[in-house]
Amino acid sequence: MAEEVLVIGAWHSPYSRRVEMALKLKGIDYKYIEEDLTNKSPSLLKYNPVHKKIPVLVHNGKPVAESLVILEYIDETWKNHPILPKDPYERANARFWAKFIDEKCLPAILKACWGEDQKEREKAAEELSKLLQFLENELKGKRYFGGETIGLLDIAANMIGYWLGVLEEASGASELLTREKFPKLFNWANEFVCVSAIKESLPPRDKHVAFMRKRFGMVNASK
């Protein structure tokens, strides 16, 4: 049976791009449908009636939603270029940090960039620094979080490796991920965006910055 892989996503969404990164890494051909989130399509509502959100992967007509769930599905379905380690303890570890990025880092990033007032933004930036330190320590001596090749955690960390910089630029917030403060993480981010499957999946930077600036404003411009 000819395989049909469809990704319903949004060009600026890190979650959506995670799915594309994994598919590209594994060399899977897919059709991409851009979703207008201000006017959700019948397809999206049909394939993700519970959350009505992107990304959704539709494989041979069957939908899978939630980016980290999709990444695991992709890894289990297409066994080349595995993105999760074989050892259960290492797998639990990768999943833990991916969850950490989504549940702890992202809210801190958004508050550091677009918190209500300067005090809130500074507090969030301090918090984010602590969180980045945990990730810095987790990298240890490795090239990528996944070891010699990128894995699920590297893909989940696209939030840190690329989106953080874009959001800081869009909002005018100070750059947090510097070589001085987080040398390993800084290096990792530079290597990460050079991996071809990742590079091909990044939104065009200028367009992305302009879009985020328009959406949320440049609240730190007074600096």
Binding site: V50, H59, K62, V64, A65, E66, V69, I70, E72, Y73, E76, T77, P88, Y89, R91, A92, R95, F96, K99, F100, F134
Partner: protein, 219 residues
């Protein structure tokens, strides 16, 4: 595969209960350590320095944190009996999706029921019931979320039933009436020894919830 297994837990925790049930399903012997969350032990802080929360599973000295990740870990290590996740990738994805829904929607909504202001509480109750009705829709006419057998989503969700009695008495939320299929499913799960033996006493949970609620309301 065997080796030393330790669980750090707090007895009313719905998240800890997921792990207890998973361990029981696999017939794993373990050492149970009760944590006082107002005075966290050095062991807990050493084993979960990032989140500093229970449950933590310590297997041969190495910690695994976050209840759903622990349940998946248990399923992967002790893979010789009672599989919790299905083997088909599509069904596994569905199971992960629904367990994630329990965390992101059901649990979050259940916290909103605690709001001190009346109108916020009413809104919280409504939202909570909606999430339960969504779960009820997903269950359909199946005996378990896992289909014919008790599985990952059942393990993820059944602990919340331990708090339903408290919600009924304190908040007048009658889940038996509003979501009869969920109620029937829960009672079916409680017929399993692995669930029943680990379930906390509903009166004790009620007392705990009532006491903790006072702190939030008076704050």
């Amino acid at each position: 595969m065997a080796g030393e297994v330790v669980l750090l837990n707090f007895w009313p925790s719905t998240f800890g209960l997921r792990v207890r049930i998973a361990l029981a399903e696999k017939g794993i012997k373990y050492e149970y350590k009760e944590e006082d969350l107002s005075n966290k032990s050095p062991l807990l802080l050493e084993m979960n320095p990032i989140i500093k929360q229970i449950p933590v599973l310590i297997h041969n000295g190495k910690p695994v944190c976050e209840s759903l990740l622990i349940v998946q870990y248990i399923d992967e290590v002790w893979n010789d009996k009672s599989p919790l996740l299905p083997s088909d990738p599509c069904q596994r994805a569905q199971a992960r999706f629904w367990a994630d829904f329990v965390d992101k929607k059901v649990y979050v909504a259940s916290r909103k029921v605690w709001r001190p202001k009346r109108e916020e509480q009413e809104e919280g109750k409504k939202e909570f019931l909606e999430t339960l009705k969504t779960m009820e829709g997903e269950l359909g006419d199946k005996p378990y979320f896992g289909g014919e057998t008790f599985g990952y989503v059942d393990v993820s969700f059944i602990p919340f039933y331990s708090w339903f009695h408290a919600y009924k008495v304190l908040d007048n939320i009658n889940i038996e009436a509003e979501c009869p299929k969920i109620d029937a499913w829960a009672k079916r799960c409680l017929q399993k020894e692995t669930v029943a033996k680990n379930f906390p006493d509903k009166k004790k949970v009620y007392e705990f919830v009532a006491q903790t609620r006072k702190k939030y309301v008076s704050a």
